[in-house]
Symmetry: C2
């Protein structure tokens, strides 16, 4: 399952000469500039971000044109972004416009003005392209094998059907959050009739894709876009969710509908008081949430995974993964772990060595005990914890286990669920000492996850101690278990006194995890 990761390895040169790209999402509601520092195929990191609420689509529904004030504001923001890039010496600028510009009768004037006044050439994405880049971002940051991606912007809604990680159908509807609000919800709170009219309008569009926009067994639905993210945040707050991470958050349809119901009766200023509401989104929040709600109902999806990435990340992946088509990671989880490891001064040899020893221990225990909590799923979490256990040393040697935990929880690992993220972070937290406990994260865990954590931690901790000197001296470990006694023979090329001494001090965690007293000795 875990094949060679050499293609993800870094050389010192590549670390020291990163590239920089500024990507500007010329959206229908907001313009967002992100700066990404990267090394193609190796690692990337968002290193700056600026956002301005432009609301370019305002009035478009009525006139078919971008309004003069909106266009002026847009040009001014593009000039600012250009100055920003110039002063940071960023020459690689990608700007892409979506629904509002695509649909505007005065598109040409807009593009010319931006070009003339800011020097930035804006590429107008077709409906298919907009859906494609959203899909690419969703595929590269979640584990969507089969299902749907919905991307709700200010101007449009894209729906993509995914089979075996490939986009097989995609469509774009003019159902963006700003449009819906301006066209159907002039008042807040809106009347019952307005709500029904809007819902019927959305359904009429969705009816055209009823042949393929239906939940099936094993399908996932991934949601993107500013309004959708904000709606996800509201549900998270409403539920008192224990993690601060939004990306990967799973919204249950029932909860989503409760939140929409609540919002329906509020004025805009009351909406601003809802925990998690972004002030400059309050006015379009209900319009957007209703569209999402209709998508969930229509497709009969029981839940939705919130995705923080979107078109701009899709554009980025196209250049990051140059040569791949579509621009997808082969294995999102491996790519996530290796990206994080590289960003935090990963000690590759020690990480690899601990992983090899820990997985060998895991496999041997699993075989000897036939433990139902030691499957390929737990093994993969153990691998990730091994690769990341020491990244906290980037902060401080003291308490580096706590820092690893903090880094993993706060940076997130796209492709892993929050539950898996929590288990990986907890295993690193206990990789040196302490009795594993799920603590503040138990709210995102499942039954028996405390026992899973203990078993994963036991393998990690013993492996870490066996490589306490970080020199890879221990070549192999062989485990024998009989009744309640376990014997671990250590095979090494040279002196392993430190390994044996260090591992012996942690035999208790093995006993707690597997019920066997552990004896360690130099073998062979």
């Amino acid at each position: 399952m875990l094949k060679s990761l050499d293609h993800l390895r870094l050389t010192p040169e590549s670390l020291n000469n990163p590239k920089k790209v500024a990507i500007i999402d010329v959206g229908s509601n907001s313009f967002r500039l992100i700066v990404i520092t990267y090394q193609p195929h190796h690692y990337f990191k968002v290193t700056d971000e600026v956002r301005e609420n432009v609301r370019l689509v305002h009035g478009l529904g009525a006139t078919g044109k971008l309004s003069a004030p909106a266009m002026d504001h847009a040009v001014e923001v593009m000039q600012l972004y250009r100055s920003f890039c110039d002063s940071q010496k960023i020459t690689d600028i990608v700007a892409a416009a979506t629904s509002a510009v695509r649909d505007a009768a005065n598109q040409a004037e807009f593009l010319r003005r931006v070009e003339d006044e800011s020097g930035i050439t804006v590429r107008v994405l077709s409906e298919a392209e907009e859906a494609y880049y959203g899909y690419v971002a969703a595929e590269n940051s979640t584990i969507l094998e089969n299902g749907f991606v919905i991307d709700l912007g200010g101007g449009s809604l894209e729906v993509t059907r995914v089979e075996n990680r490939r986009s097989v159908r995609a469509v774009s509807f003019p159902l963006g959050a700003v449009r819906m609000t301006e066209d159907w919800l002039p008042n807040a709170p809106p009347g019952k009739e307005a709500l029904n009219t809007l819902r019927n309008h959305v359904r009429k569009h969705l009816d055209t894709i009823s042949a393929w926009f239906k939940h099936e067994k094993g399908f996932r639905l991934v949601g993107q876009g500013g309004s959708l993210r904000n709606a996800g945040r509201l549900v998270q707050k409403m539920k008192g969710y224990p993690l601060d991470e939004l990306h990967g958050y799973i919204v249950q349809r029932d909860d989503f509908q409760r939140m929409v119901k609540k919002m329906e009766s509020l004025t805009i200023s009351e909406r601003r008081g809802i925990p998690g509401m972004k002030a400059d989104r309050a006015d379009i929040a209900l319009g957007g949430a209703l569209v999402v709600d209709e998508c969930l109902r229509f497709s009969d999806s029981p839940q939705m995974i919130v995705c923080s990435q979107g078109v701009r990340e899709g554009l980025f992946y196209e250049r990051f993964l140059e040569g791949e088509s579509p621009s997808l990671f082969e294995n999102v989880r491996q790519a996530s772990v290796m990206n994080m490891a590289h960003l935090y001064a990963f000690q590759a040899e020690h990480g690899d060595h601990v992983a090899a020893l820990a997985l060998s221990l895991f496999d041997q225990v699993a075989r000897l005990t036939e433990d139902p909590l030691m499957t390929a799923a737990e093994r993969e979490l153990l691998w990730a914890a091994c690769m990341l256990h020491d990244i906290g040393m980037n902060i401080d040697y003291n308490d580096h286990h706590r820092h690893s935990y903090y880094l993993i929880l706060n940076s997130g690992l796209p492709g892993y669920s929050h539950r898996e993220l929590a288990l990986i972070a907890l295993a690193t937290l206990y990789h040196r000492k302490g009795k594993p406990s799920t603590g503040e994260l138990s709210g995102v865990l499942e039954t028996d996850d405390d026992r899973r954590l203990l078993k994963i931690t036991a393998c990690l901790r013993l492996a870490e101690q066996l490589d306490r000197s970080r020199d890879g001296a221990v070549r192999e470990v062989k485990l024998r278990m009989r009744n309640d006694a376990a014997h671990l023979d250590i095979y090494a090329n040279h002196d392993v006194a430190v390994s044996v001494w260090a591992a012996e001090q942690h035999a208790d965690v093995f006993e707690a995890a597997f019920g066997s007293h552990l004896e360690i000795r130099r073998g062979g």
Copy 2:
């Protein structure tokens, strides 16, 4: 006050070719190995640590010699440490022994066995040297101008008097925590008489330095050593202290005495249950705490600053600051801030530029408003916050303000009090957005610190926005204030549209801090 820091600057070469030293503290109670990665005069970082409870001094009081089992254990641990260094390819090993080895009749045998069997040459520190290295560590990690350093080991107690940062008197007594326990407290809980005898014994020694071991106005008392740190941790837990940081914690004498009183009536296993107690110190904890208590009483010191550094750091500073005698930082606070900045990929130009703009704003507001909360003390905190505000980007751009806060609180800034540390961390937390609030840290702050924080944050945030493009374009700012209106003129070499736009969005924090509406414009 803040002179050039060029001597603390790093070149890329120095960052990429650090040195490594292993320092082994061959203590009377425990042996501790720390690995420090460093660049002389520039930066350093503890990168590994191993500790083993050897209790070398055990039985020394009765026989005058190191016991055979203790010596065997000691030699075995030194062999392990040597293997550890070999496998990490550390060739620079400094090992220093203190009281137990110094006083042992069979010292020569011990040194020869360690040398023969581990290849490590142990230097035996004289009483004066042991006191000196403790003093150096205390001076380089606190702001001790005048007062005392007490260093309580397993075998001995060192007391040093400091005047104008120089050691002017130093003495060593055989009053270590293990010795006191073995000689005077055979039972736990001990009888009243045993307690009195021990206290009298300590006092008899302290009587010999009554001429100079007396608290004076402006004096501080800094305490070091494993037993003392553990005692400090117990008080911290007893008080429900809001920070996890021990170094720099100020213990009030009354609190210390309450903790000692409580411990006097407990068995050793009951002591193990006290929050904060290290299991392998529980037996000697009371003996050690009684010695510290007597020092506080005898010198009439109202409080004690806990110092996590000691002899081993003192030995390190000698080589880090080669050429200096004594081996002291000229300015501990500056050195702390610059060390942290370098460890976390400090962007020197942006940091310096933000500091220059923020301090200029601070000085102008202070002059115009004669605000009593804007003195040199607050100015120094502002400087530190400017230098460190972006270190969280080392973790992630998203939420980097929160990461800076986490890094500063968790790494600590030797030389700053916990209150100052909290204010610096809070200013970085609010350097981008949010309404400054002291939150969970209010327990370590003083009256009006919420207002101080607001003023410091206002200067930092405006300066940060003025250099939003990180290109140093804004050369100078000139502030005028009249009634409740303030005007900020910006002088720059070229286009500063981004600066003006960014700063305008944060004018509200200026208004909240200084009560004046702020207008920003390009000047001159």
